[in-house]
């Protein structure tokens, strides 16, 4: 058990930090500090291509596919330095962190050659189509249909909460490909080009006034027969593997974003005197503790090589960060007081802390609600009986 980094790793940290700082002070200074996922997508695609051009796009991937074969420690370091430098989050994070690893794990050699270069290069942006209006947290209830028509899959149905679909190029969709199948059986994992007449993307405005999420409608949308991952009807296994990738190194970058938010709150409290309030001080301390424990929880998760039993740190991570951040949003508003409830100008657009307050209500819902997380923990880690399904 060791927390520190080696001198070589610290050298790597300096190299990464220097390069990122140089970019954020130079050519890409105009995007430094952007926090909203929806802000300036075109310019951010250019940035991600710049990352790729300098070998920083997917450092944990094999060299063969545009990565660096970076060690775990190096990935941890890069994620931290990336966020510390004020670089905006990856607009292609679904491609880099979900679609790419899924193709690397489950894809054929042809699929790797076809899709990985575009992801690594930052030229093909991906989004995911899992949730449906009547299957929010319930992947086994998917109704979007896929049928093989000659050498193409034809897809009909509707997905929802397709984050960033409006700036993406490709989407991977969980479909029901066997008519009459129920539950996890008969699902197929289909990859589709978004730029076609059979697909329509409509933004969903959120309570913070922004529109990161979308509804995506499929009406006779088409893709080549070999654009599926895994076997037809074998989509459940792929989807489950993909969800596991969500708990990777990227969490550390996400945490650095949280750090920025907590720092903003601390600065606001110092500025307006809330820092003298013992009640606020206790909550700030709790927030600080929670953030540190998230970091070390992620470290445990990443250091764990015993995959023979459920990883407690990994299984509890989603509910931990989501609940923490929602509480952080409330703390932010309590520090700001009524000042946090007004904004300059006529538009309903919020600064970082009020936006945190509003947006964080979604954190405990998307990607599996807190309720679903508790079911997973109870059933997978604690071995408690499964919830009965009404129709199975």
């Amino acid at each position: 058990m060791k927390l520190g980094f080696t001198p070589a790793e610290e050298d790597f940290r300096k190299e990464a930090a220097d390069w990122l700082a140089g970019q954020m002070a130079g050519e890409f200074a105009d995007i430094k500090g952007i926090t909203k996922l929806t802000e300036r997508p075109e310019r951010r695609k250019e940035w991600e291509q710049q990352l790729a051009a300098h070998g920083w796009s997917c450092i944990g991937w094999p060299k063969e596919w545009g990565g660096r074969d970076a060690s775990l420690a190096e990935q941890v370091i890069f994620a931290e330095e990336y966020a510390r430098a004020g670089v905006p989050g990856r607009i292609n994070h679904i491609g880099v962190e979900l679609a790419g690893p899924t193709i690397l794990t489950f894809g054929t050699d042809e699929q790797k050659a076809k899709f990985l270069p575009g992801i690594a290069a930052g030229t093909t942006i991906w989004c995911q189509g899992f949730s449906e209006p009547n299957a929010g947290s319930d992947l086994a209830s998917v109704r979007t249909k896929a049928r093989l028509d000659g050498d193409e899959w034809v897809v009909d149905g509707q997905k929802i909460w397709t984050s960033l679909a409006h700036v993406s190029d490709w989407i991977f969709v969980v479909t029901r490909s066997e008519e009459g199948s129920k539950g996890p059986k008969g699902l197929t994992f289909v990859m589709m080009d978004l730029a076609q007449p059979g697909i329509e993307v409509r933004g969903i405005k959120q309570i913070n006034g922004d529109a990161e999420f979308n509804e995506t409608f499929f009406d006779g949308a088409r893709t080549a027969a070999d654009n599926i991952i895994g076997a037809p009807g074998g989509g459940w296994k792929v989807a489950m593997g993909l969800l596991a990738f969500e708990r990777g190194v990227s969490t550390l970058g996400q945490q650095m974003g949280f750090r920025n938010e907590l720092d903003e709150i601390v600065a606001a409290a110092k500025a307006n005197g809330a820092a003298r309030d013992p009640l606020i001080r206790q909550r700030i301390a709790k927030a600080e503790i929670g953030l540190r424990l998230m970091r070390y929880g992620a470290m445990r998760m990443l250091s764990n090589t015993d995959h023979s039993r459920p990883d407690g740190a990994a299984l509890t991570y989603k509910i931990q960060w989501a609940s923490w951040r929602r509480a952080l949003g409330e703390l932010a508003m309590d520090v700001l007081g009524q000042t946090g409830e007004v904004t300059d100008g006529p538009a309903y657009e919020w600064g970082i802390l009020p936006n945190l307050f509003l947006y964080s209500r979604a954190d405990t819902i998307y990607g599996g609600t807190n309720q679903i997380q508790r079911n997973l923990i109870a059933e997978r880690a604690l071995g408690l009986p499964r919830e009965p399904r009404g129709d199975l």
């Binding site: 946090g340 309903y348 209500r361 919830e387 129709d391």
Partner: protein, 348 residues
């Protein structure tokens, strides 16, 4: 001792619930939100048709001569629909005018709905005689008010919105159903109320009760709507309301709401009966009901899943209203500190 509505109170409750449910629709409220945050037609019918805009004002001052219990009934019903109305400022200003020796003609206009008033308080506002200087932040519905009751800790004035030296700056506000404005007073002449202590006390007590009752109505609406959704929405092949964890969360909401209900009507009664518990009761009601509403509105979002954090769904109207009620007229911690000082017999 009878802690339940009288027949007359039950009738008022039924009437106002029906009124707001019919008129303060989501569509109308959203139209007001996109504008200046007030549904003027709704306010007009509230004042003229319902006749309850002076509910807790003495009859000889032009009111209905009822009490804060009846006012709470009205505010609870308005809160249940998140109605975009200048009710808070209206009640506080008209209470101040009625008991503080204010202008009876203006009071009459307020009750008739011809004039809209807002209430603006700043303990340390600079006043030399009746000439006022300074800034007052977060004046609810200040942007659309025709006049203001302005108070410090020991003085109160009536100020017209078009008074020379007064600048009113509307602010984009999280709760779009009750937008705030900033008042900048630069040598503004106020019309002094003769009994400021009575005015301020009546205004604040009424304000606490209105906010607490709005919170109660809002919290109950969050519960009712979420229960309704939970019986319709099917996940994993079952109505989500059949999942025990979901049921328990709704039950917890109800436990809080029932306490908030006791708190609101205890506070209203205590003031109406001049009970020596009144001060404790209003602090308890305001802080408890506001927290209950916030919790229920947060739970409403959570228990609706994805749809709950869309703009299209009404959950965010409740959520933002709840947040605003928490900070209006003193945050929860401040109210609880007032109670602690009473309990300990000190003032820390």
């Amino acid at each position: 001792m009878h802690f339940a509505f009288t027949d007359e109170q039950a009738m008022i409750a039924e009437t106002v619930r029906g009124f707001f449910a019919e008129h303060a629709t989501s569509a109308r409220t959203r139209k007001a939100m996109a504008g200046d945050g007030v549904d003027r037609a709704l306010w007009a019918s509230f004042c003229t048709e319902l006749g309850l805009s002076g509910v807790a004002i003495l009859e000889d001052a032009g009111g209905a001569g009822l009490g804060l219990v009846e006012l709470a009934i009205v505010a609870e019903a308005a809160g249940a629909q998140v109605a975009a109305l200048p009710l808070l400022g209206h009640v506080m200003a008209s209470q101040a005018l009625a008991v503080g020796g204010g202008d009876r003609q203006v009071l009459g206009e307020l009750i008739a709905g011809d004039t809209i008033a807002a209430y603006a308080h700043r303990a340390d506002l600079s006043a030399s005689g009746d000439t006022l200087n300074g800034t007052i932040e977060f004046v609810a519905h200040g942007g659309i008010a025709d006049c203001f009751v302005v108070t410090t800790n020991d003085a109160a004035w009536l100020v017209a919105a078009d008074a020379p030296g007064l600048t009113v700056t509307p602010l984009t506000t999280m709760d779009q159903t009750r937008p705030y404005a900033r008042l900048t007073l630069n040598g503004v002449a106020g019309e002094r109320l003769s009994d400021p202590a009575a005015a301020i006390s009546a205004a604040h007590n009424a304000g606490f009760v209105v906010l607490a009752a709005e919170a109660l109505g809002g919290a109950q609406a969050c519960l009712d709507r979420t229960v309704g959704y939970s019986l319709e929405r099917v996940q994993f092949g079952r109505p989500i309301g059949s999942f025990q964890a979901y049921k328990h969360r709704l039950a917890d909401m109800m436990v809080e709401i029932e306490q908030a209900r006791s708190a609101v009507y205890w506070a209203a009664c205590a003031i109406d009966e001049s009970s020596d518990e009144a001060a404790l009761a209003v602090h308890a009601a305001k802080s408890f009901a506001a927290d209950t509403f916030f919790r229920c509105a947060g739970d409403m979002i959570q228990l609706h899943g994805g749809i709950g954090f869309t703009w299209e769904h009404d959950a965010h109207l409740f959520f933002k209203r709840a947040r605003a009620i928490q900070t209006l007229l003193g945050e929860g911690a401040w109210h609880r500190e007032q109670i602690a000082a009473m309990v300990f017999g000190d003032a820390a």
